[in-house]
C-alpha cells in the first residue's frame, strides 16, 4: 500500500540524518492517527528541534525549506508541500513540546521509521492548546482509552495544566448536576 505520508516521513528522516534538524516528531491530527481513528486533516504538523549554534538566538526555518525545495518540495506560504501534503514545521515553543519531542516514539510505517509524539503528550498538548478541535481530540483520546491516565495526569501536573484540566473535566466529562 503506497501511503503518501510515508513518503513525507522518509524525506524528513533523510533531512534529520543530514543534520538539518536535530530531531523531529509528528504531532497534530496525523500524530493522533497513530493512536486513534483517522480524522480528516489538510496538513501534517512536524515539530522540530534545531542544533544549537553559538550566538544564534532566533531559529530560522530557512535550512529546512532550502533542503526540501532542493528535493522537490514546493513552498506554499508557511507550508512546504511534499508528496501532495502541505507540511508545517513547528519549533518547540514550550517545555511540554520540548519534552514531547525528547520522548517521542518510533513507529514502523511500511518499513519507514516514523517518530511520533506519545499519546499522552498529544493529549496534553491538545489540552494546552485548547481550541475546539483540540478539545475534541482530547475527548477522542479519553473515550478510546488511548492514554495512560497516570502518565497523562503527571504531564498535567508537571506542566501547570491542572486548571485547564479541571475546566475541561467540568465542561466535557461530568454529567449535568
Amino acid at each position: 500500500m503506497a501511503v503518501s505520508i510515508a513518503q513525507v516521513i522518509s524525506v524528513i528522516n533523510q533531512m534529520e540524518a543530514a543534520g538539518v534538524v536535530a530531531r523531529y516528531a509528528i504531532g497534530g491530527a496525523v500524530g493522533a492517527t497513530f493512536y486513534l481513528e483517522p480524522v480528516a486533516t489538510l496538513d501534517v504538523d512536524i515539530f522540530v528541534a534545531f542544533h544549537h549554534q553559538a550566538g544564534q538566538v532566533v531559529v530560522s526555518p530557512r535550512p529546512i525549506f532550502d533542503y526540501l525545495t532542493a528535493r522537490g518540495g514546493v513552498v506554499e506560504g508557511e507550508y512546504i508541500v511534499l508528496a501532495g501534503w502541505p507540511v508545517q514545521f513547528l519549533p518547540a515553543t514550550s517545555p511540554l513540546v520540548e519534552e514531547a519531542l525528547a520522548e517521542a516514539v518510533t513507529v514502523d510505517v511500511e518499513g519507514t521509521p516514523a517518530r511520533v509524539f506519545t499519546a499522552e503528550h498529544l493529549a496534553a498538548i491538545a489540552l494546552q492548546t485548547g481550541r475546539a478541535k483540540d478539545h475534541a481530540r482530547l475527548l477522542q483520546f479519553i473515550e478510546a482509552a488511548a492514554i495512560n491516565a497516570e502518565r497523562f495526569q503527571g504531564l498535567v501536573r508537571g506542566h501547570g495544566l491542572l486548571d485547564r484540566w479541571q475546566t475541561f473535566e467540568r465542561r466535557f466529562l461530568q454529567g449535568p448536576s
Binding site: I5, Y35, E37, L42, V109
Partner: protein, 67 residues
C-alpha cells in the same frame, strides 16, 4: 436499519473503535482519502459562496433610496 438513537450511537462508537484498531499504514492511507474529500467539499463550498455573492443584490439595488 433502525432509528433507535442508542443503537445508532453504539454503532458509531463501534465503527470508530474498529477504525482506531486498524494498522497504522491503513489509517494513514485513509488520511489521504479524507484529505481529498475535504478538499472537494471546501472547493464546492467556496464556489457556492462565490455564486451567492455574485447573485445577491447589492445594497444599492436592494433598498430604495430616500428621495
Amino acid at each position: 436499519m433502525t432509528f433507535d438513537l442508542q443503537r445508532i450511537l453504539e454503532s458509531k462508537r463501534a465503527l470508530r473503535r474498529s477504525l482506531a484498531q486498524r494498522p497504522v499504514v491503513e489509517k494513514l492511507a485513509l488520511l489521504d482519502v479524507l484529505r481529498d474529500r475535504v478538499r472537494v467539499i471546501r472547493a464546492a463550498a467556496a464556489e457556492r459562496a462565490a455564486t451567492m455573492a455574485r447573485e445577491a443584490p447589492s445594497e444599492d439595488h436592494a433598498q430604495p433610496r430616500n428621495p
